[in-house]
Point group: D2
Chain length 320, copies 4
């Protein structure tokens, strides 16, 4: 019976546990033997490779994060450690590895498969939604809903106090999280790297709206811009409104996964395992236009993600 | 300046208010004059047609239901009342009507446009997700997440007490809501009209699992089957386990809409208005393969929705 | 070192797991050896008594229900089974038992201690909040907040559709849950056993309010009255409004416990253990006027709980 | 008919809107005429005093913040502005004012009543729970439950990544919020001004637990200590664990109020109005030992709040 392993790499996201549950169930249904690699690539190097049992995944579907833990591994960048990782996989007779993570993790895995006969399937998992080749990365929907709840709560406070609030979201270099949060949070200002903006235009609009009775503003600013403090000051000085900053940190990662992230976890893992069974050696499972396809790791890891034009167009309306 | 009106018809869903907000903002941005028709087709007959202002939609994005209310109208089935509705629209000089609702509402509207020069755009909105021609109907994601929370809560209780729970979901004739809820809730049994099932197979599996230590089961049953009570009895008699029924009623409709339903509301409305501007006269906005298209009302209203094979395949695994 | 055990009996409530965590931590801090009795009195009879470890309770604080499960036991009513239970405790050298449950469970335990030298401490735990001698029972706050969310969601739907909704809450013979839910849910009608009501007065008020523009009503009805269907019909026939019933079943029990239930769990358990250390033999931990006291089981188990007059007075305002 | 007004002052809290709803309902039931003062003391000075109608408070019970807005007023510190405020009240023939706020607001009000014949009743409302003379301030329960959700989410991430997290809570000079959050969040470290701590003891314990397998820690630190960054560094250097800081900012204030805050809002307002009817001239409604009493403003505004010993004792267990 063939053996197949799974690991989580990089930042954890909600939905990873649902993916692990599906992994154990579906590998067994297909006649494979499932293995967990704990602590990401670090654990792969240190041989933390354990036969996965159904009892490991019972009841974990409701929990954020990942029960097999994740890591960022500097050592995996070095060939000597990757060779050790390959030895570990061989010693367990494991021929295929599924990796839940971002493009950095996929690049690392690409090197490993070039140095061995191990097969690899990548599942995009990052709340930043910044992986080229796929419209959706696991964890994004849960993160967005957490941000939504925060914005809804901040609006209560902002409207009670005639204040401006500057909310900084995660997203690394990508404005997706900030853009969708701004649109669905119904906020008044949205600044992301993908859309040019003009503060003078915002000022004109805001001054006009204040004359018409508006007493508060909420701005969503992507962390990529590193401009939250500047915008805070802008509200104080240019708009003349007391302002506060809210940095939504690691709370964005976590919590009980949404239905969509649970379902996407199931579908991503099913597609990954089907691909490995079909003989794929180095692919990433991508979700586009409502369906799944498998792309070569080279298409993914060295491209830049771009937000779809449909959403960008909505975002450009902020700057009327 | 052209005038365009919107109404909600049939069961309310979360996301309708976000749609109304977008309607007011986007019509004005495009140079139209927005109107609300209160109380659905009933209000259209009774001339409850009011110029929509921005202040009507400020802050409503977080609320379930619809602030312009909905209705089911028997009168609208009669031509005389439809003619009165047409007169009302003419008296306000309104040339286009957007309807948020289900296929029944679209059929009604189709008759009206055959009897007049009114243009119509339909936006699928029902938690049942049972409208032919579109993969997604507004409100489904919020409903699914409410059901998810209920199942998560019931599992706590079920596992504390060695009991079986039979959870009945909405969905009219369609098993979509039940199927996705079962999959993402991680339950042990899922009965929907679209998938044949064999209780003997379930019994064999459950008896085996009980021997291995399992002490509770959760079943999700679509209301379409009308079999919740029968399954309850089956658990008591055939499986020998105390059981309880939970009917998730109207709480499934409501509450603060998810990010996805807010965003879909924006995108559906934007697409509907763009279509009317482009000269469409009787189309329904459909979401498939990640994008929007406009289908003629005839394609929608007289077809039957089918769950995508990808999901059905996952559902068939219940019956191993 | 002395040994002390804990069990859960009757309906599970949110907060039991927090209590179990505190039990393990505080017994050990005080130099006791903690034991879990699984499956309530049934498990006590069947000797499901296991040394509790810290790893059993790690991470359970966020989960509803009880990881050591609960039961209702007919056998425990019989002396022969209670003697078996006593033998089991003796065989483990356990001298004290803490029971999380309702008055029925306390009565059962009272018999056991009369037949042995076992010490007992009871912690009131039921969402019905119907135990005499204590103002608060573990689990009530979580149940109330779940009901609140349901009522908030139903209001969205009710106000969208010009309908009356009849919401039936749990509570056995006690109207506490329904009363507090009605008050904090801002509903229009509240029927509980403790407050007489006059439907004619309600009718007069409702008809007047409908004339003034009100288009929906929400009624909260305690399950104790068994009148939900009658009220449903009353709305249809007497008020002339389409109506729907929502039975909030077992979803009321569960889910992530609130801060208050987690804190009360800690404080109840701390007080119970302190009492046993101080030499108490058969007491129930009661919470009144902001503090804890220990009452003899006889004061509790054979009295009837009454809702405090402060709340009853608020409830009587419904019937102006 | 006598006229009575209400205003919100200082930081907004969840539950203020429930209080406003009750204010309108109960004043009218008692034969008073209710007035809203918008924008706190600033609005009192600027005569933003408006007759309150039932429609102003319909449906607001579910929303955080305050629909009549709040403010911090420097001008109210000056006698000339207070005299203007008094003139405004006289011009509306208002004899009594209820203030929802903190001790600073009460002090301001005390001056005003010394300079006039206005009667005053204060309702403690601050998430810091730092007002002397009352065990509970409106808004605390909602804030605590928001913090709980954040801690629960952070734990998912912390346990996935072998990291320490330092969570900074609000509370001004008072450690109540941090202490209860730490206890009910089940965290490993709690630092507040009221309890001395020894980092060496923590280090010994943490090093021991890491040897036994623990891979993450969560610390809750009160903002009063201004030591979050220091503790972050301590985890990195002394414990040797990667760490992250999470500052729970204004999201703590907001959101849909809990059942307890809704109920306390009702009871506080009822008690305040009953007191004014009974002829009180300058009292603050206090909640202690499960009941309400009215204390003179002098007892409240110049004393320091102390956390009850029961809770402090639980907090001291952190430092074993």
């Amino acid at each position: 019976m063939q053996k197949i392993a799974i690991l989580c790499s990089g930042g954890d996201v909600s939905g990873m546990n649902a993916a692990l549950k599906r992994f154990v169930e579906y590998t067994q249904a297909k006649g494979f033997m499932p293995y967990f690699i704990y602590d990401g690539f670090e654990g792969l190097i240190d041989n933390k490779i354990v036969r996965a049992k159904y009892s490991d995944v019972a009841g974990i579907i409701t929990r954020g994060g990942t029960v097999i833990r994740s890591s960022r591994s500097e050592r995996f960048m070095e060939k000597s450690y990757r060779l050790r990782a390959i030895d570990n996989l061989h010693s367990h007779d494991i021929s295929s590895v599924i990796v839940l993570g971002g493009d950095g993790s996929f690049k690392g895995m690409q090197k490993l498969i070039q140095e061995s006969n191990i097969c690899f399937s990548g599942i995009p998992a990052t709340i930043d939604n910044d992986i080229a080749g796929t419209e959706y990365c696991l964890g994004v929907d849960t993160a967005l809903n957490i941000i939504k709840n925060a914005i809804d709560a901040v609006r209560d406070t902002a409207s009670s106090f005639s204040r401006a609030f500057v909310i900084e979201t995660m997203g690394r270099e990508c404005g997706y999280l900030a853009l969708v949060s701004a649109l669905t949070g119904g906020v008044e200002m949205c600044l992301i790297p993908e859309i040019p903006y003009n503060l003078d235009n915002y000022k004109k609009r805001f001054m006009k709206e204040m004359k018409e009775g508006r007493s508060y503003f909420i701005a969503v600013v992507s962390e990529a811009l590193k401009k939250s403090d500047m915008i805070l000051e802008w509200f104080e000085k240019e708009i003349g409104m007391e302002s506060r900053k809210v940095v939504l940190g690691h709370t964005q990662r976590g919590g009980n996964p949404t239905v969509n992230d649970r379902l996407m976890a199931y579908r991503f893992v099913t597609s990954a395992i089907d691909g490995l069974i079909a003989g794929e050696r180095s692919s990433v499972v991508c979700y586009n236009d409502g369906g799944f396809s498998h792309k070569d790791i080279g298409e993914i890891a060295f491209e830049k993600y771009t937000i779809c034009t449909d959403l960008l167009k909505l975002g450009m309306e902020y700057e009327k």
